[in-house]
């Protein structure tokens, strides 16, 4: 990370002038407070007592036997609110409190980040507005209801593809308008500096814990880390603490949706370098530089961009990126439910399916940690609909 907020050539701040100062203010606040002991203590307290950390690193015995790998699941699905998103939401909410912002806004796709944000807003007594695309509101009704129960207002976004990308646009427009009293709690490792860095650092607790846990259990580092990549926060949270351990291979799984010839969300595999939502990274775009609509059965992966640090990992070949389709993800969803009694969210179901492919490529009994980033409750209706 360079001073200007770049990972190699990726990242930066491509934003309207009005956000220059608020971003600088945020950056300064983040660097100042996140180093202070009382901030760290308070965050650790909430992560432990409120969110339920540390999460188990569960050895998936049945699945391991079935596939001939040693598979460990990092159980972020067991966290309060049902996904890893709460790690970041708590961290940023503590910042918002210190920055004396009275209102918190966020974008959400699957609704997990919206729920996490509404939760922390309720916990710390902040007014909360969540932007969500119309398509996502329809396919994630329960999460909309959860946010409302938590006292947040869910604002329907009808522009563009009516999914996460457009929710992001609308949240940025809100922030440009209400910069003085509003904290924008971005949910992934995307957006202008310092968000990609800050969100990754708040999520890195996943990888730090996993490292300790695997060393205790296996007395050695894992061979593979496997996680789904939409914007990329759960994957970077798992990967980053292992960055210097070159023998640990990172695999990021993007959503191939309906296929490469149709609609997908594989920004890293199929996109070109471009600028979306304030940073330079891989972007799905047409040949004239207009942003294309992404598609995935998993709303949380349905995004035509990806965090700049992933672009950097791709460039330096630190991570490998693969693609899993909607149909395959549903098989992954069923596989984990049936073999381990754990119903995953559709997002990590992409990574789970890839285990089947990895089993054919990797040495027998390789140690694999999969980030089980969220639980499947929110997706039951979709799976029911698609399966019938």
């Amino acid at each position: 990370m360079s001073k200007k907020g770049y990972f190699g050539e990726f990242g930066g701040r491509f934003i309207p002038e009005t956000l220059e100062y608020p971003l600088r203010e945020l950056q300064e606040a983040y660097f100042k407070y996140s180093q202070q002991k009382d901030f760290k203590d308070e965050l650790n307290f909430y992560l432990r007592e409120y969110a339920g950390r540390p999460t188990p690193l569960y050895f998936a015995k049945n699945l391991s036997k079935k596939l001939g790998l040693r598979i460990y699941l990092k159980r972020e699905d067991l966290l309060h609110t049902g996904a890893h998103k709460i790690n970041n939401a708590l961290g940023q909410a503590l910042l918002a409190v210190r920055m004396r912002k009275e209102r918190i806004i966020a974008e959400t796709g699957a609704g997990q980040h919206g729920v996490a944000t509404a939760t922390v807003a309720s916990l710390f007594g902040k007014k909360c507005d969540i932007y969500m695309g119309k398509v996502d509101i329809e396919r994630q009704k329960m999460n909309v209801f959860r946010m409302q129960l938590l006292g947040a207002q869910v604002l329907k976004v009808e522009g563009g593809s009516q999914t996460l990308k457009d929710a992001c646009n609308e949240a940025l427009r809100d922030w440009v308008t209400n910069v003085r009293n509003t904290y924008y709690l971005l949910g992934s490792v995307v957006g202008p500096h310092p968000y990609p860095l800050m969100v990754r650092n708040f999520q890195a607790v996943i990888g730090r814990e996993a490292k300790q846990q695997i060393l205790k259990r296996e007395k050695k580092l894992p061979d593979y880390l496997l996680a789904c990549v939409g914007g990329g926060s759960n994957s970077l949270g798992l990967f980053h603490p292992f960055f210097k351990d070159r023998e640990v291979r990172f695999i990021g799984v993007e959503a191939r949706g309906k296929g490469f010839l149709s609609q997908h969300a594989c920004s890293l595999i199929k996109g070109r370098v471009g600028i979306l939502h304030g940073s330079k990274s891989y972007v799905l775009q047409d040949r004239f530089g207009q942003i294309e609509q992404a598609h995935s059965v998993a709303a949380g992966l349905d995004y035509p961009g990806v965090g700049p640090e992933h672009a950097f990992y791709k460039k330096i070949k630190r991570a490998e990126y693969v693609a899993v389709s909607d149909k395959e993800a549903l098989l992954g969803f069923k596989m984990l439910s049936e073999t381990e009694g754990i119903i995953p969210a559709l997002e990590p179901a992409h990574a789970l399916f890839y285990l089947r492919k990895l089993a054919k490529l990797a040495k027998k009994n390789s140690i694999v940690i999969v980030c089980l980033s969220g639980r499947g409750d929110k997706d039951l209706e979709i799976v029911q609909k698609v399966s019938s």
Binding site: E17, T18, V176, T177, R180, I275, I291
Partner: protein, 260 residues
């Protein structure tokens, strides 16, 4: 000196302020856009700002969003923009300033873009590019002698004024409000006190944009700024009157009234 700055010198000598209307390229249709452009060219415009439509215009409010989406749905792109202006440039006397988000330009490649742009466009406004991120862009703009316009907003701190001025070879675009484009009934009174600070640190022309919706505002702010930019209110007018037979005539009258 670029053509935009030359024009400001000329206006200053005459004691005049710049009137800068905005149109979205290809809206409502390419043909109507051409007609609207000629109307502006003949209605006392000092510069014309052309908005290039982008799929994700984060600095724009609903009116410009709709016009952009409509134009995109009709298939506009940079190839069409350049071939259009190649054809009509000779019919237009007013200097043209292109407003485009950065991605389409970046994706085209800066060299390729500037090669095509420099005979056709006098200035460039990139609403999601800060001077800090614009090093390559500014170099090319200088090489190809296209003027650049950067922003000062109500949240801009004084320490960045001179950086912004250095990057702005055309003029400085002063954003009236924290917010996106779109007409506002009233504009904050803090504009003038903030402008005073800007004037203290800079000597380039400063034009006011975002939110101007009527003649009273236009008149008031022309007194203090070197020019005013009107966009959404014109697009709104086009949307409201497009179905009428004499909509071009009405548009011209509206523009003349705004600038009177």
């Amino acid at each position: 000196m670029g053509k935009i700055r030359e024009k400001f010198e000329e206006l200053r000598n005459k004691g005049k302020k710049a009137f800068i209307p905005y149109l979205t390229f290809g809206f409502p249709t390419l043909k109507d856009f051409e007609a609207l452009l000629y109307v502006l060219d003949s209605a006392g415009s000092d510069f014309i700002e052309i908005g290039f439509p982008f799929s994700d215009p984060i600095a724009d409010g609903p009116i410009i969003q709709i016009s952009s989406q409509t134009a995109l749905d009709r298939g506009v792109n940079f190839l069409k923009l350049f071939s259009f202006f190649k054809r009509v440039k000779r019919n237009i006397n007013t200097p043209l300033i292109l407003m485009s988000y950065y991605n389409p330009i970046y994706d085209m490649g800066l060299d390729n873009f500037f090669k095509k742009a420099h005979p056709l466009l006098e200035g460039l406004i990139i609403p999601d590019l800060l001077p800090e991120e614009g090093e390559d862009f500014l170099k090319k703009a200088k090489t190809y002698n296209i003027d650049t316009v950067f922003f000062i907003s109500p949240t801009t701190q004084e320490e960045r004024f001179s950086l912004i001025e250095r990057a702005s070879s055309g003029f400085i675009y002063y954003i009236s409000v924290t917010g996106v484009t779109g007409p506002r009934k009233s504009l904050p009174s803090s504009i003038l006190s903030h402008l005073k600070k800007v004037r203290k640190k800079t000597s380039s022309p400063v034009c006011l944009g975002f939110g101007i919706s009527n003649r009273v505002q236009a008149r008031k702010f022309k007194k203090y700024f070197d020019g005013i930019i009107v966009g959404s209110v014109l697009i709104k007018k086009i949307i409201e009157t497009y179905h009428r037979k004499n909509f071009l005539k009405e548009f011209k009258e509206f523009v003349l009234w705004l600038n009177s």
